[in-house]
């Protein structure tokens, strides 16, 4: 057991924290706390990437860790906070299913993801390959969060946190993607956030609410 070097232990720790935060976001009822949790997840991701970068001596991973820190810990939460303030939507998030049931479904998803990732992780040659299961689990949990939430803002946070999971998967399976791809994704996320922000205003103007069940109606008058 002593053969495991400290940096792998630390990266495992951050992987576990990432999974825990994914569950915390799934259970969180308030929008503002959800944004804070999202920022915390981004921070754990940046730490884990920086540790892998330091241990494997890959300078470009430092850049992506820095990018994660600036974009997902500072910029996106700030944008979301501003959006919440402008839309004045501090309501409690209503889920479609109650919290304990969502958690149980989440556990089933985690078991599924771990089983799915196990054969893939065998093929990878990195030391951090064991955390691939956790990355897939966080992607699926974010997906679950997008499904179970009715309002627009939590769905977008779910989308952003799914990107966190994908990023973590790339780091743990292949020590990160090429810099060009990462920059592209980062820009995409930022642009998506801005466009979705505009969408929020449009949706609210049309329906006086951000509840997405209004979008399911095709006609204006039944």
């Amino acid at each position: 057991m002593s053969a495991v070097p400290l940096w792998v232990q630390l990266s495992n720790l951050f992987a576990a924290v990432l999974l825990l935060l994914a569950f915390a976001m799934l259970a969180q009822r308030r929008v503002l706390s959800l944004i804070d949790l999202f920022a915390a997840q981004g921070f754990a991701l940046a730490c884990s990437t920086a540790i892998v970068a330091y241990a494997t001596r890959q300078p470009h991973l430092f850049w992506s860790a820095g990018l994660t820190l600036v974009l997902k810990v500072i910029l996106l939460p700030w944008l979301l906070h501003r959006l919440i303030r402008q839309l004045d939507v501090r309501w409690d998030v209503e889920g479609l299913i109650n919290v304990p049931t969502t958690m149980l479904i989440g556990i089933v998803l985690v078991v599924f993801a771990f089983n799915l990732a196990f054969p893939i992780a065998q093929l990878a040659s990195t030391v951090t390959r064991a955390t691939l299961g956790i990355a897939m689990a966080s992607v699926m949990l974010s997906f679950l969060m997008m499904i179970t939430r009715r309002k627009a803002v939590p769905q977008v946070i779910g989308f952003l946190s799914m990107e966190n999971g994908l990023f973590f998967a790339a780091t743990s399976a292949t020590y990160g993607m090429p810099m060009v791809v990462e920059l592209g994704i980062a820009l995409d996320v930022l642009v998506a956030m801005l466009i979705l922000g505009v969408f929020f205003f449009q949706i609210r103007e049309q329906f006086d609410s951000l509840d997405l069940k209004h979008l399911e109606k095709l006609k204006e008058h039944e």
Binding site: N12, L19, F23, A130, G133
Partner: protein
């Protein structure tokens, strides 16, 4: 099985029986300090128990034998559990008779008896207390089992002494799974020992009681035994927590008496810290509504399952 092992077993049992009320007094004292009140004496639980033993017992006319034997069953279950959990030494004759799963069963036995006794007289508060107790119990038990399974997976055994020996001898490493399991165990212990987020041990309001509502009808020596048993339960849970998460300092092997005697002050130190932490948790948190308890204990279950899964996946 040597005479020395028997002696250490007896010593451990005696320490558990004697120290359990002191732990309760210490928690109460810490809580009073933290809330800026003047603290009751450390020895108050002993005085309460002595006072109750000197009184005449009153038993309702329609009480069945279940009501009479319950205090003895509950007390002996807790005393047996105190003999099984390795708190100062690991070479205990009793500890090899029952593993961690049987220990959970022993706690369940005590719970079933006390709930039956509460319903026995047919009083409204007793029935409410019994139902709530079973409600909390059925949510807490799976989480407790998962915590124990996590420790068992790491050490490869369900026997508590083996778990302690493995965990105390491993290298210093970061175990995310043990951290999750530790948090889950703390939450389960709070619920099982009727402490604040779930139940309030100091309440006088019958409608919100869980544990206290069940023992409203008991008096004198019966009540003394039940109070002593709940102090022992708190002691046992603390010792399980110490055995799983802070096993350093527990003597291994039965012949080395300096180690065994040296383990006693270490145990007292750890219990003092644990008691202070408990008082701190109780001071900073408020009692939840009863129907929030499933969420609280669901979180504990989730953390414990995550600990197990993370341990399986990462091997740490």
């Amino acid at each position: 099985m040597s005479a020395s092992a028997f002696l250490s077993q007896l010593l451990q049992l005696a320490i558990a029986l004697l120290l359990a009320p002191l732990l309760l007094g210490w928690v109460n004292q810490c809580r009073a300090w933290l809330q800026n009140k003047s603290a009751p004496s450390l020895l108050l639980p002993y005085r309460t128990i002595r006072k109750l033993f000197h009184k005449d017992a009153v038993v309702a006319e329609n009480a069945s034998p279940v009501f009479r034997i319950t205090p003895y069953v509950v007390f002996s279950a807790m005393a047996l559990a105190a003999a099984i959990v390795p708190s100062i030494a690991t070479d205990l004759p009793f500890a090899h008779a029952a593993d961690a799963i049987a220990l959970v069963g022993l706690f369940a036995l005590a719970r079933v008896f006390i709930a039956l006794a509460a319903m026995d007289l047919g009083t409204a508060f007793g029935s409410i207390g019994a139902r709530r107790e079973m409600f909390v119990g059925f949510l807490a038990e799976p989480a407790l089992l998962m915590v124990l399974f996590t420790a068992s997976l790491i050490s490869g055994a369900t026997l508590l002494p083996t778990i302690v020996e493995t965990l105390a001898h491993r290298d210093i490493a970061i175990y995310p799974s043990l951290a999750f399991a530790g948090v889950a165990f703390t939450m389960v212990s709070l619920a099982e020992n009727a402490r604040i987020p779930v139940d309030n041990p100091a309440t006088h309001l019958e409608l919100t009681m869980i544990h206290e509502a069940m023992i409203l009808e008991y008096s004198a020596r019966h009540l003394a035994l039940i109070e002593w048993a709940s102090a022992l339960k708190l002691f046992n849970y603390s010792c399980i927590g110490i055995a799983l998460f802070l096993p350093f300092g527990i003597a291994q092997g039965s012949t080395d008496w300096t180690a065994i005697l040296g383990a006693v002050p270490v145990l007292i130190g750890k219990l003092a810290m644990g008691g202070f932490a408990l008082a701190l948790i109780e001071t900073v948190s408020a009692k939840m509504r009863l129907f929030r308890a499933p969420e609280f204990l669901g979180t504990a279950f989730l953390l414990a399952v995550l600990a197990m899964l993370v341990n399986l996946l990462l091997g740490s």
